[in-house]
């Protein structure tokens, strides 16, 4: 048993978990082509969930702020992107890959801008007055989530909104008897690029250094002469923008979205952040991929268990590692 544990650590430790899950699923599913399809779907979903969750993890890590309103940015991102895509419907339907690509770019950019501005407003007006008070944070940010949902209802209405997407992301590639949906590959690649950029910033820049240090020990960073509260506003804005970007991509993935989207994603996002360990984006990525893969495998093998599987995963991981898989050092 001890040898097994040492082996596990040597070959990557907790980073191996998604691989282990995939192997077990391969055995249980039996049909390789279904397994490939589900795995790609799981990885794509995981990456989108990562975008939604990464900001939340840093926000909690840095300032100990519990933001239940985080998923409002997911909703806004989704609806803003849907509207922008609908506005450029003619480009999406046309033959020009450039124009439909541009429409997609504008949709995601609009979501990001809304996330940045909304994040700034949210932090200054709603979160700042309740620093250091978890109970009030929960109440006020939950309230804000409800208000956001009402705003979305008022603007976009209660009936599900359909999301057009560029022609070049429609359909699937067929490789042998495996079909690979193009949009999933796109979502995975974009998410991976964002992760790489975040990791680079956190590990290679002074701002990143300050964020990592602040997650560990905010007081000490302040005692070294840095205003963590000002840094936090920026982190909050970027985190909200990432959530909005995740929402925009999610909208294109679902192709039909309703105002309850944010509240639905909130649970998943919190589970991912808790599984991963607060304050670390590596942990968040790991948690998101696990949840994405497991969701797809279980959805195929035992559809009735799909919802419960995330909860079970979370409880199992917390029993094994009470502070998550890869928490920031505290």
């Amino acid at each position: 048993m001890k040898n097994l544990g040492a082996m596990f650590e040597r070959f990557g430790g907790v980073n191996l978990l998604p691989v282990l899950v995939a192997i077990v699923a391969f055995v249980l599913i039996g049909a390789p082509s279904s397994w490939v399809t589900l795995t790609i779907a799981g990885l794509a979903m995981g990456m989108m969930i990562f975008l939604m969750a990464s900001g939340l993890s840093l926000i909690f890590g840095l300032m100990d702020v519990l933001n239940f309103g985080h998923s409002a940015f997911v909703s806004f991102g989704a609806f803003v992107a849907a509207s922008v895509l609908a506005f450029f419907g003619a480009w999406l339907g046309g033959d020009s890959v450039f124009l439909s690509g541009l429409a997609l770019f504008l949709a995601i950019a609009a979501a990001i801008v809304v996330g940045l501005l909304g994040g700034w407003f949210f932090e200054r007006v709603i979160v700042k007055p309740v620093y250091k008070d978890h109970l009030r944070q929960i109440l006020i940010t939950m309230g804000a989530l409800i208000v956001a949902e009402q705003i979305i209802l008022a603007i976009w209405g209660g009936t599900p909104t359909s999301v057009p997407r560029p022609a070049f992301l429609e359909g699937a590639w067929i490789v042998g008897d495996v079909s690979v949906e193009v949009y999933r590959v796109f979502a995975f690649a974009l998410g991976l690029a964002v992760y790489a950029a975040l990791a680079l910033i956190l590990n290679r820049t002074r701002i990143g250094l300050l964020i990592r240090a602040g997650v560990e020990n905010r007081e000490m960073v302040e005692a070294l002469g840095f205003r963590v509260d000002r840094l936090f506003v920026a982190v909050f804005m970027v985190g909200s923008a990432l959530a909005a970007m995740g929402g925009a991509m999610w909208a294109g993935y679902q192709t039909l979205i309703s105002p309850a989207l944010g509240a639905e994603m909130m649970i998943v996002v919190f589970i991912v952040v808790i599984i991963g360990g607060l304050g670390s984006i590596e942990g968040t990525l790991l948690g998101a991929l696990l949840v994405g893969l497991l969701g797809n495998y279980v959805g195929f093998l035992a559809p009735k268990m799909a919802l419960a599987s995330n909860m079970i995963l979370m409880m199992a991981i917390l029993m094994w590692r009470p502070s998550g898989l890869r928490p920031a050092i505290k």
């Binding site: 990592r212 005692a223 070294l224 002469g225």
Partner: protein, 234 residues
């Protein structure tokens, strides 16, 4: 004029008053030692100076400036360095990254860096190692190194010898002597042997009040006073 003056500081943590009346003048230059039994309020005094707790009423003045309500980061920018009791080392960062964060511009002054290497050779050896993997003594060296990697006006150090091996304590004492030649150190200690070799002026805090203030030489000579203020039984 003194470098730092605390006047009638009362600091409460939650409902509980920890400091009742701390009045203290710290002159410029050398090591000023603040002694006191466990729980007397030494750490709270340093945290009140750094703006991590807020005294009320009472004031903290640095040179001729009232810093009582200033933000911790702004106090630090005046030239304060703080080495907390738990060392405050960032475990997920390397030794180098810990030190670079303690510079205001993100660049090392090569002369100062050399001096740090000379004082604490272990830091050079483990330069790229993550700080959580250092030993307790090495972490303490890193914490002290952070406070001298740039010129400072005043360094607040909270029980740097706690839990350290005697050989490391000796190295620490040498380092402090050298540091104090060019800056002022306010040193909180329970290790009287360590403190008496370093301090010129000193004070004793007891139950949130300054109970004695004088020169280290006089205090060392007065066994009775030591017993009354520092012994565990009193």
């Amino acid at each position: 004029m003194s470098l730092l003056s605390l006047s009638a500081m009362k600091t409460s943590i939650g409902q509980y008053a920890v400091l009742h009346d701390v009045t203290l003048e710290v002159p410029e230059g050398g090591v000023f030692v603040l002694l006191g039994r466990n729980g007397a309020g030494k750490t709270t005094t340093l945290r009140s100076i750094m703006g991590l707790w807020r005294p009320s009423p009472g004031s903290v003045r640095f040179r001729d400036r009232d810093i009582t309500t200033m933000h911790t980061a702004d106090i630090a920018r005046l030239g304060f360095a703080y080495v907390p009791e738990n060392m405050g080392v960032f475990g997920g960062l390397t030794v180098e990254e810990n030190l670079i964060l303690a510079t205001s511009k993100g660049k090392f002054d090569p002369v100062r860096l050399k001096r740090v290497y000379a004082l604490f050779p272990a830091l050079e050896k483990f330069w790229t190692k993550q700080a959580w993997a250092l030993s307790g003594g090495q972490k303490q060296m890193l914490a002290v190194a952070r406070s001298i990697i740039e010129p400072r006006e005043l360094i607040l150090i909270d029980e740097p010898t706690k839990g350290l091996a005697p050989s490391i304590i000796d190295a620490m004492a040498d380092a402090f002597r050298e540091i104090a030649a060019t800056t002022t150190i306010l040193l909180v200690e329970q290790n009287f042997e360590f403190a008496k070799a370093l301090g010129r002026d000193m004070a004793v805090i007891d139950d949130g009040r300054i109970a004695h203030r004088g020169s280290m030489a006089d205090f060392v000579a007065d066994k009775q006073l030591q017993d009354r203020l520092l012994s565990l039984s009193a």
